[in-house]
């Protein structure tokens, strides 16, 4: 038996660990391919980019849970700003004045009233599901919700104010200053006001309309007439424009493909030129954004000029000028019935 050299005390080795670890870390740091991949580096897959299967209906239900990944703080601030009269020059009207959320997101007036009782140029479209529109305004001159906000705010006959005025007012309100500061590092700024409001608008999605339930596979969600109405809606070609998740609002179309609507109506205004006002191209004359038909039953009056007071009127005008013929009464009736199934719920309640 021989006694060999005593091993170094474990404490010695333990004391060396941090150094070894530091050396290892250094090596790792300089080695390639060890960089941590950040999540935001990969471009997010857009749910809408998923190819649509052929056998699917031209209309898609709005997925339950949509919209996902919103900033709740921005939504809350946007909600406050949406109802903020300070966004108008005389503090008389807010976004909600023309887009009352409890009335389908529209004021149901042919022309909304701006500051000093001035009338607007076109019918107010609903704010609900506006996030699903491919462009904003009847003529599609704003491609985003943020961009859209400039329109009514700066329009002399709507809110008639300027961002400087608005920001001054907001900055004088400690609650806003604090709320902005909490979300945005640069506090109260016009882009942040727009960001918050747009974020709020993105939350204004109506879910679970009866038709959506039908599309999801509930055959009892629609009555026979309504189902027939949908068939007619497709058969008469309405579906050619009113398709997609928002049942329209993803293309421009001329008002009066077959008949000359404006000639018949007369009293032409600049607004009647539609997209021509934006592009200046002759082919865009009287071309408008195809409006979404979701919640159409609760967003009367219809068309950019509020010429149709009822759905029947609207369907009749469409049949006349886009199809070139009157619809049989039964078909018309069923189509209107079908259109009434497109009303969804917001906050758990139907609009």
């Amino acid at each position: 038996m021989s006694i060999k050299r005593v091993k170094p005390a474990p404490t010695d080795r333990r004391r060396l660990w941090p150094l070894v670890a530091a050396g290892g870390a250094l090596l790792l740091a300089v080695l390639p391919g060890c960089e941590k991949r950040r999540d935001d580096d990969t471009v997010r897959a857009d749910p809408a980019s998923v190819p649509v299967a052929m056998d699917e209906e031209p209309i898609l239900p709005i997925p339950r849970g949509h919209p996902s990944s919103l900033d709740a703080r921005k939504v809350a601030l946007g909600n406050k700003l949406f109802h903020e009269p300070a966004l108008s020059r005389d503090n008389s009207i807010s976004c909600a004045s023309c887009h009352p959320l409890d009335r389908g997101g529209v004021d149901h007036l042919p022309r909304s009233l701006g500051i000093n009782g001035q009338q607007g140029e076109v019918n107010t479209p609903t704010v609900f599901n506006s996030a699903l529109n491919f462009a904003q305004f009847w003529d599609g001159r704003a491609s985003t919700l943020e961009e859209q906000i400039d329109g009514p705010v700066l329009s002399t006959f709507e809110m008639g104010t300027s961002w400087d005025e608005i920001l001054k007012k907001l900055r004088d309100t400690p609650a806003y200053v604090a709320a902005f500061r909490e979300i945005y590092s640069d506090g109260v700024q016009s882009r942040n006001v727009k960001s918050a409001i747009a974020e709020f608008e993105r939350s204004l999605i109506t879910l679970d309309s009866r038709f959506d339930r039908y599309l999801r596979g509930d055959p009892f969600a629609l009555t026979a007439d309504e189902k027939n109405g949908y068939l007619k809606f497709k058969g008469y070609g309405c579906i050619s424009c009113h398709q997609g998740m928002n049942i329209g609002a993803n293309l421009f179309q001329r008002m009066g493909v077959i008949g000359d609507y404006f000639a018949d109506r007369g009293n032409l205004t600049k607004a009647d030129l539609g997209r021509f006002n934006v592009t200046g191209r002759e082919e865009d004359r009287h071309v408008f954004k195809v409006p979404s038909l979701r919640n159409v039953a609760v967003t009367a009056p219809y068309f950019h000029d509020s010429s149709a007071q009822t759905l029947e009127d609207a369907v009749a005008v469409m049949a006349k000028y886009q199809l070139g013929r009157p619809l049989p009464p039964k078909d018309m009736e069923d189509i209107v019935k079908f259109l009434r199934t497109l009303t969804g719920e917001y906050g758990g309640k139907p609009l």
Binding site: D12, R15, L16, L19, G23, L26, L27, A29, V30, P32, G33, E35, R37, R38, D41, T42, V43, D46, A48, S49, P51, V52, M54, P58, I59, L60, F134, K234, G235, Y236, G237, C238, I239, S240, C241, Q243, G244, M245, N246, N250, L251, F252, Q253, R254, V257, I258, T279, E283, V287, V290, Q322, L323, G324, R325
Partner: protein
């Protein structure tokens, strides 16, 4: 260590530079750009694919295009960030391509908006046309076509529509005219119930025919937009840059690896150095700890020793009969003992203050010659001498001896220690003692002289006794000598000188003369021999006297002549020296010699002892008055000694006298001087032996035992 650190720092700097250089190529940037390119390609092809699907009604929603366009716009206008490693020239080119691509996408967007509108219209008509034809047919004649002309037109237009939609061949002018013929029919029959319906159908037919060409043209334009080629060019330029960047990077990478390796070596060395330094440190620490422990132990021991020493010192201080006080140079009293306080009668509170001046004042008041004392104290405190001693006389008559010693540490004087001793009594005693001593000296001188004289006289007297005896014996023998008978015989023979023969033969008287002569001869011879013997003894005794005198003369010198003598001879001498008195007092002498050793000793001393003992025994016997006076002399021996015991059956010795029998001047005889046994004991001791006495009591005799070594050691100088 320092150099290694410097090298490490330098390496680290170079490493950082290389790392930053290597950073020129970034995986993250590359991946981002590359994936952007792939997405662009994918989106572009998906767009075209879905465009065709929409064109041929295989896809009936435009939602996807919105997403394609948005993503592509986002990529081209922002997210497709050119990596930093792309060279400036290529960067410009890529940017140019991007710009081109961006404008292409804008063009496509416009074209596509037009496409959507047109496609929607066409799709509407395409959907509606068969429905309308069917409805018209049913309306016109539930049982068949009533109007031949309209029927034919409808038939024709239905065929044209069916073939047209599926064929890419241009239509014949006749076919192209069918919508017109339908419209013409409508115009020709304005009153017909279905005129409006037919007119609208004609519009749809016209739309389908006209729109198809335009839609096809639009579709072609969209599909041929060189977006894919733009993306491809962009990708090619990028690939080139990527390759060179990768090559560059791999070079730096290699350098970096080398450096890292080097750095690792440096780190390892640093670690090793650190570790060995650490071990050295640990060793040092442990050694130091051991040292400290040892020092601590030593210090503790030293402290304990010190404490012990202190306690010993304090005990010493307290136990000493002297009063001790230690005073520092500045006058502070460092220490003192209780004896000091009691000597000077100092109250404890004054001592507690440890103020030398106050103390001095108190002390000063007690001494005679105060000024002198104060001056001396001041001088002592100022410059304590190494050692000083003086005497203080106190007013109360006490005398203190003061002994002062400087207290020094490392040659520096810190103070002094004063030692007071009350010498009053000692001085007195010393004085008296000296007086006594003087007297004693006188006495002893006288006593010594007497002793010597006595001893000499005694011894000479003893021998003279023998001489006297011998002389008497010789005188007696001479008086009783037969020698006168020789005269008578001579006279007789003279008378008969004539007839001598006859006389001697015949005369009765004359006849006995020869016999008588023979007897006389014998007697005379005997006489002569006896006298000669006595004379011899006499001679010997006179020699002895001479010896004694000579010995006594050199008494003070003590050391006698060492001779080798036979113990029995010595004893016989002693007996002989007392023979007269023994005979006179009728004391029998019994000899019991167990041994007859020859020893080397101072004969005189031994003889003196023995003579003394014999004489004492004779006295003791004589005093007892008994008739069977017996003196027994016995010799025995042990290993080293000859033991001579002289016993008598005389008066004995009382026990109380036994202990002082050898004391100087002790005697029980009225004419004794108490010197014999004393000097005997001394002599025995001088001979290296001893003299002891034993008696069972008065009347029971006594025995004295002289023990002598075989060889006299020089037991005295």
């Amino acid at each position: 260590m320092k150099r290694a650190g410097l090298v490490g720092l330098l390496l680290l700097a170079v490493l950082t530079v290389f790392y930053l250089q290597r950073q020129g190529y970034s995986d993250r940037q590359h991946e981002r750009f590359q994936s952007g390119l792939w997405q662009l390609k994918h989106l572009d092809s998906s767009f075209n694919e879905d465009l065709l699907r929409v064109r041929f009604s295989l896809l009936e929603s435009y939602d996807v295009f919105q997403s394609y366009q948005r993503q592509m716009d986002r990529l081209v206008d922002g997210e497709l960030v050119i990596p930093s490693f792309v060279g400036a020239a290529d960067r410009d080119q890529i940017n140019l391509f991007k710009k081109e691509l961006s404008s292409l996408l804008k063009t496509r967007r416009q074209l596509f908006e037009r496409f959507k509108s047109l496609n929607a219209v066409l799709s509407n008509s395409r959907r509606y046309f068969p429905v309308a034809v069917d409805e018209l047919t049913r309306r016109l004649n539930p049982a068949g076509l009533p109007d031949q002309e309209l029927g034919l037109i409808i038939q024709k237009i239905t065929r044209v529509m069916l073939t047209h939609d599926a064929s890419s061949e241009p239509l014949s002018p006749d076919d192209l005219a069918t919508p017109e013929s339908l419209r013409a029919w409508s115009a020709a029959h304005p009153a017909h119930t279905e005129a409006a319906f037919v007119s609208s159908l004609a519009r749809h037919a016209r739309t389908l025919l006209d729109g198809k060409n335009e839609l096809d043209s639009l579709t072609r334009q969209l599909l041929t937009l060189p977006t894919a080629a733009g993306i491809e060019s962009l990708s090619l330029i990028y690939q080139k840059d990527l390759t060179s960047a990768l090559r560059r990077t791999s070079q730096y990478q290699k350098l970096l690896y080398g450096l890292v390796l080097l750095l690792a070596v440096v780190i390892a060395y640093a670690l090793w150095a650190l570790r060995s330094a650490n071990q050295g440190l640990e060793r040092h620490v442990s050694e130091r700890t051991a040292d400290l422990q040892r020092e601590n132990t030593e210090r503790k021991r030293a402290e304990a020793d010190l404490a012990h020493s202190l306690s010993v010192l304090q005990a010493t201080l307290e136990s000493t009969a002297d009063g001790i006080v230690a005073i520092k140079s500045d006058g502070e009293v460092v220490n003192y003992n209780t004896r000091f306080a009691s000597m000077w009668g100092l109250p404890p509170d004054v001592l507690a203050k440890k103020d030398a001046m106050q103390l001095t004042a108190l002390v000063t008041s007690q001494v005679q010659h105060e000024e002198q004392f104060v001056a001396r104290v001041t001088q002592l405190l100022a410059d304590p001498p190494d050692e000083a001693c003086d005497v203080l006389e106190l007013k109360d008559g006490r005398i203190f001896e003061r002994y002062v010693r400087a207290q020094k540490t490392d040659g520096k004087t810190l103070g002094m220690v004063a030692n007071f001793r009350d010498v009053t009594n000692r001085l007195k005693s010393e004085f008296e003692l000296e007086k006594i001593h003087r007297q004693l000296l006188d006495t002893s001188r006288q006593a010594g002289m007497a002793e010597v004289a006595t001893s000499v006289l005694h011894n000479v007297g003893n021998v003279l006794n023998s001489v006297n005896v011998s002389a008497t014996l010789v005188a007696d023998q001479v008086r009783r000598s037969k020698s006168p008978n020789v005269g008578k015989l001579s006279d007789l023979l003279h008378q008969h000188r004539t007839d001598l023969g006859d006389y001697l033969t015949n005369d009765p008287k004359g006849k006995i003369i020869p016999v008588y002569l023979a007897s006389l001869k014998d007697d005379l011879a005997r006489e002569q021999s006896s006298i000669l013997s006595e004379l011899d003894s006499l001679h010997k005794n006179i020699g002895h006297i001479k010896d004694i005198v000579a010995m006594q003369q050199s008494y003070a010198k003590t050391s006698g002549v060492v001779e080798t003598v036979s113990i029995p001879d010595l004893i016989e001498d002693a007996i002989r020296m007392n023979a007269g008195s023994l005979a006179r007092h009728d004391v029998d002498v019994a000899r019991d010699y167990h041994v007859r050793p020859v020893v080397t000793l101072e004969k005189n001393k031994a003889l003196q002892i023995l003579v003394n003992l014999v004489r004492n025994a004779k006295y003791a016997c004589d005093e007892s008055g008994r008739i069977d006076k017996l003196l027994t002399i016995r010799t025995t021996a042990d290993k080293h000694h000859v033991i001579i015991t002289v016993s008598d059956n005389g008066v004995g010795i009382p026990a109380e006298n036994l202990i002082r029998i050898f004391a100087h001047g002790f005697t029980t005889r009225k004419d004794g001087h108490g010197f014999g046994l004393h000097s005997g004991a001394l002599a025995a001791k001088e001979l290296g032996g001893s003299l002891t006495a034993h008696s069972d009591g008065p009347g029971l005799g006594a025995s004295f035992t002289l023990t002598l070594p075989y060889t006299q050691e020089s037991s005295h100088e």
